[in-house]
Structures are given as structure tokens and as C-alpha cells.
């Protein structure tokens, strides 16, 4: 199926070239980071994490959210059948992007495998590495097996279903524990009362909104149409998860903080976007849906970013990302997008029987 990625129209190749270009920029910036250390970034004393960590946090959330599509399908909600491979490949690509984002943020990336060798159960970072790697493999394998079976017109192999079942608790733990890594929280993450729920809700809202966005873009750019019922259901899921997430994020607006304005802006954007889904005429317009789901994505991304601005010593950090840092981060994003595009091409080819 992978050979389908080698055939495409003009816009497809322009997109691929663009991604390769961004990746090349990223690699050249990363080479400098290897030579000069993390001093090429805007981080420093008191600023332990930057946009790379924000990307990691968001991508881990996106990966976890794909379970919202896989779960109804297991409950025999048939319409989601058409987008289950897309969700699984999105889960795999997002996990890979999150892992790579962790990797480029390491001081000594050559010791990456030591994270497996010395795995530590009480460390959220250790769990994040293990969970992301596992989630990547589970989604890639089950997605590929399901799609392959569909192409050949045979039933899916018996070992696939237990793996999909495993991915359900995996995703829920993934959403929470990967969040613990980036939150600057002195003391015990594991039992901080609101943190875990908020991470779960915002992951489901942001990730599902991104999936909705992808499906709508596919509808506009390819022959693949998931159908009205699927988009309606996804809208419902984003509305549910988003309402919970923005209510929980809203609680933080009552805390005294120097980033209150930013927080308010992201919250207003999120609530405004969710409101679009409540208006029937807007809900049936693709342009409105694209705008609203993009709004939810940006709002959740901003929430992840704002969380990084809190210093573990109290107060707010002063941080401006550098050009090199942005290049490396975008390079990783482009690599993830390239991986996703190739997988998506295979899905579209099989689904449209090309």
C-alpha cells in the first residue's frame, strides 16, 4: 500500500516538496544545536522548556484523543469505520512527532535508549517515553493490518482486536501522564487534584478537533468523503470534550497570575469556537466547521503553551524562542506531517478503490 504515496497530482508533490524543505531546514538547525548545545534555543536559567515541549504536549494529546473514534467503532458504531484507519494513523504520527519533540529537547540525545534501560516507575518522563513508543507501535500495526485486510477484502486478523482493546486504557493513561512531564509543578504531580482531568478533557477536545479538521480538508482536496454522519458525530464529540475542557481551563482564570490576559484570550477563542457548533446553520457549513475546529485546536495549543510559562520557582518566565529553535521544532512537525501524509495517501487510495 505504501507505493500509493509515490503517485499523486501536482498539489500533492508541491506539499511533499514543501515538507522536505522544512525538514532540511530543521536538520541543519539541529546540526548546530548538536554542536553548540541547547544554548541555541531561547531557553535558559529558569526557562526549562519552550516551544518544543509545547509541540510535544499537544501531539501527545492529539495521539491520545484518537481513542474517541476507535472506541465507538468497537461498540459497533459502523459509520466511524471509514475514518478509523485515519484516526489510528493520526495516533501513530502524533506519537512519533511527540517522541521526536522529546528527543530534540534532550541535552544528550545519544542516551535516548537509556530511558528504556533505566526505566523508572515513579518518573512521569520515563512513562511518557514508554507510553508514546507503545502507542505509536499499537496504532501503526493495527491501522496497517485493518487497512490491508480491507484492501484484500478479507476479514481483519484475529490478533488485531485485542491490540485495539489494549489501546483504550493506553490512550487514557497517555493523555494524563504525558501531561505531567511538561507542567512545572513542584511536589507531587500524580495526585494534583484538577490536573489529570483537565489534561484528559483538553486532549480529547484538541485532538478530535484536529481530526475533524483533517477530515474536512480531505473532503476538499481529495475524493475521500467521510460523510455527514461522521462529521456530525465528531462535532458532537468536540462539543462535549471542549465544553468540559474550557470549563476546567476557565477555573484557572480565577487564580492570580501575570498571564491572565493570554489565558482569557485562549479561553474566549475556545468558547467562541465551541459556540459555532451550537448554531444549526453554521454547523452545516464546511467553512464554519473548519474555522471552528481550527479555533479549538489553536486554543488548546495556547493552553499547553501558557502552562509552560509558569516557573517552578513561582512567577512567570521570560522566554522568546530563537529562529534555530523554531526551525528544529517545525522540522519535527514536518517530519510527522510527511509520515502522516504517506499513511493517509494509502488510506485514501484503499477507501476510494483507486
Amino acid at each position: 500500500m505504501i507505493e500509493k504515496a509515490l503517485k499523486g497530482n501536482r498539489p500533492y508533490w508541491i506539499w511533499i516538496t514543501l515538507l522536505l524543505l522544512v525538514i532540511a531546514f530543521g536538520i541543519s538547525a539541529y546540526a548546530q544545536q548538536m554542536r553548540l548545545g541547547l544554548s541555541v534555543t531561547g531557553m535558559g536559567d529558569g526557562v526549562r522548556s519552550g516551544i518544543t515541549t509545547m509541540q510535544y504536549a499537544f501531539m501527545a494529546a492529539v495521539a491520545a484523543s484518537t481513542i474517541l473514534v476507535v472506541l465507538p467503532y468497537l461498540h459497533d458504531y459502523k459509520p466511524f469505520g471509514t475514518i478509523v484507519p485515519i484516526a489510528q494513523f493520526l495516533g501513530a504520527s502524533a506519537s512519533a512527532t511527540a517522541l521526536l519533540s522529546l528527543f530534540i529537547d534532550m541535552g544528550k540525545p545519544q542516551l535516548m535508549l537509556d530511558l528504556l534501560r533505566y526505566a523508572t516507575p515513579q518518573s512521569p518522563y520515563s512513562w511518557a517515553f514508554f507510553l508514546l513508543t507503545g502507542y505509536f507501535l499499537i496504532n501503526l500495526i493495527t491501522g496497517w493490518a485493518t487497512l490491508g485486510a480491507e484492501r484484500k477484502g478479507v476479514p481483519t486478523a484475529a490478533w488485531v482486536k485485542p491490540l485495539i482493546y489494549l489501546s483504550i486504557p493506553w490512550a487514557i493513561v497517555l493523555a494524563v501522564v504525558t501531561g505531567f512531564v511538561f507542567v512545572n509543578f513542584p511536589g507531587n504531580h500524580w495526585i494534583a487534584s484538577l490536573l489529570a482531568i483537565r489534561l484528559l478533557a483538553s486532549a480529547f477536545a484538541g485532538g478530535t478537533a484536529l481530526l475533524l479538521l483533517i477530515i474536512l480538508i480531505l473532503k476538499k482536496t481529495s475524493d475521500f468523503d467521510a460523510g455527514r454522519e461522521v462529521t456530525d458525530k465528531l462535532v458532537m464529540l468536540v462539543t462535549y470534550a471542549g465544553s468540559c475542557a474550557f470549563a476546567l481551563i476557565g477555573l484557572e482564570c480565577f487564580a492570580r497570575s501575570q498571564v491572565l490576559l493570554l489565558l482569557w484570550l485562549s479561553l474566549l477563542l475556545g468558547i467562541a469556537s465551541i459556540s459555532v457548533f451550537f448554531v444549526p446553520t453554521w454547523k452545516s457549513s464546511i467553512s464554519w466547521l473548519i474555522a471552528a475546529s481550527a479555533g479549538v485546536v489553536v486554543s488548546i495549543l495556547a493552553e499547553k503553551g501558557i502552562a509552560l510559562l509558569y516557573s517552578s520557582m513561582g512567577g512567570i518566565v521570560a522566554y522568546t524562542p530563537t529562529v534555530k529553535e523554531v526551525s528544529v521544532t517545525l522540522g519535527v512537525l514536518a517530519l510527522g506531517l510527511l509520515f502522516f501524509t504517506i499513511l493517509l495517501k494509502a488510506v485514501v487510495a484503499v477507501k476510494t478503490a483507486d
Partner: protein, 258 residues
């Protein structure tokens, strides 16, 4: 492919892998350097010692940097000459940074206006050690929270979890930034964290930490918190002392008299 041939390749590869596995079980030191364990023969029994420090601010002289300088020299702490990359094992910080949750309302300026020596608290419940994904940061048998620079992956989880900001990161190559090289302590490389180790290398030789030795005013008292007859315990009993952010439950081993 021929079914038999396929089966044959499958079985031989499994056999080959199993062979390697068994061999490594028999030859444990295969590829590994032999360790001489005799040097740990007289190591103290776990749980019997807990090193701690008492900082008596009544004796600390303003503008004096002797402890900070001694620490820098003893451990090859780099000076990057840029506040953004600042890295200190021991530094003198204002009251609101050292005790941000203790409040400074109504306390006289003669007490809160000073610069307080601040260092790793060697907590009894260190959050950094539980955040570390590779156990590069760990609690030793004598209460010292130690760091293995070779195992550190530079993920900075410890920095995020430390409420005292006691851990620094080498954002660039530290060796050129060392002012005076001390050959008796290792230097670090870029991409790893570092922090105060309570001079464990000096304790091993029966010496006091470099900062304690450098302070002529005896501001710093170092000793075993588990020994009721130690000087530090007697001082703790007689004086009103405070710890940094005690509400977090990290149980710091560094105490202050302000």
C-alpha cells in the same frame, strides 16, 4: 519461498538469538569492566547517617562571597558570564527568592534584607529523584541527593520538579567557562544538569564541605542530623530555625536561623 526453507531460517534465527542470550547469562562480565568492590567494604550502613546543614544568618557577613568562591573552585563550576545560562551550586539570594512562601511582612529589614546562601536542600523526600527517568539523580545511603553525570540524559525533569531552583543545566560546553581548573574533581559536558553534592568527595576523605571550611565566621554548620549529640542537632534544639518551603513536604536537610 519454499515453506521448508522458510521454517528452517525461522528456527535457526531463533536458535541463534537464544544462544546469544544464554551466553550472556554465563559470562556476566562480557564487555564490562571488572569492578573492585573492596572499596565499599567499610561503607556506612544505610539509614544511619543523614547529612545536614545549618546556616546561621546572624553570623553571615554582607558582601562576603568566600563560600561561593570555594564551591566554584572545588567543583569546577562553569561561569558562562551570562545571566540566562547562570549555573550555581551555591549562591547568595535575597529573602523573597529563598523563602517566597514564608512572607516578609512585618519582619525587620535587618533580617530579611540580607543575601542568604542557598544550595541544594538534600531533601529527605527529593522530588527531583522521583522525576528523573533514569535514576541519574538519586538519594544516597547518607541522605545526600547525588547525581550521576554520565547517566543524565539532559531531559531537565528534575529542574521542573525542584521547588528551590537548585539544579542548573549546561546549556553549552562548560569546560571553556571554568575560570580555574581543579584537577581533583571531574568537569562536566554540555547537555547535563549539575547541582550541589554536599561535597561527598571531601566527606569521603574525612573533610568538611568546601563552603563550611571557607567560612571563617562559622555561619555554616555541617553534621549528622541523625546523631543526637552532633553540633548541628544541639544547635537545632536550642534555636528557632526554618526550612525552605516546608509546606511541600520535601523535608529539606538545610536549616536557617534568620
Amino acid at each position: 519461498m519454499n515453506e521448508e526453507r522458510r521454517e528452517f531460517i525461522k528456527k535457526t534465527s531463533f536458535g541463534f538469538l537464544a544462544g546469544i542470550g544464554v551466553t550472556s547469562g554465563f559470562f556476566l562480565n562480557f564487555l564490562m569492566e571488572k569492578t573492585d568492590t573492596s572499596i565499599w567494604a567499610d561503607k556506612s550502613i544505610a539509614g544511619t547517617i543523614r547529612w545536614g546543614m545549618l546556616i546561621d544568618m546572624r553570623k553571615c557577613i554582607e558582601g562576603c562571597q568566600k563560600c561561593v568562591d570555594a564551591c566554584r573552585l572545588a567543583h569546577n563550576v562553569p561561569d558562562f558570564g551570562h545571566s540566562r545560562y547562570q549555573l550555581e551550586w551555591l549562591q547568595k539570594s535575597p529573602y523573597h527568592e529563598v523563602f517566597p512562601t514564608s512572607g516578609e511582612d512585618f519582619i525587620g529589614k535587618e533580617r530579611t534584607g540580607k543575601l542568604f546562601p542557598s544550595l541544594c536542600n538534600h531533601c529527605a523526600e527529593p522530588p527531583c529523584a522521583s522525576a528523573c527517568p533514569t535514576q541519574a539523580t538519586f538519594k544516597r545511603f547518607d541522605g545526600i541527593v547525588a547525581l550521576d553525570y554520565h547517566r543524565c540524559t539532559g531531559c531537565r525533569s528534575c529542574m521542573a520538579s525542584c521547588p528551590y531552583g537548585a539544579i542548573g543545566f549546561n546549556w553549552s560546553e562548560p569546560r571553556p567557562a571554568i575560570k580555574a581548573l581543579n584537577a581533583s574533581y571531574p568537569t562536566r559536558e554540555k547537555g547535563v544538569v549539575e547541582k550541589c553534592n554536599f561535597c561527598s568527595e571531601r566527606l569521603l576523605k574525612g573533610k568538611l564541605p568546601a563552603c563550611v571550611e571557607a567560612c571563617a565566621e562559622k555561619t555554616l554548620t555541617f553534621g549528622d542530623l541523625n546523631d543526637p549529640k552532633s553540633e548541628i542537632r544541639l544547635l537545632l534544639e536550642k534555636n528557632q530555625t526554618m526550612q525552605r518551603k516546608p509546606e511541600l513536604g520535601t523535608l529539606p536537610s538545610v536549616f536557617y536561623i534568620i
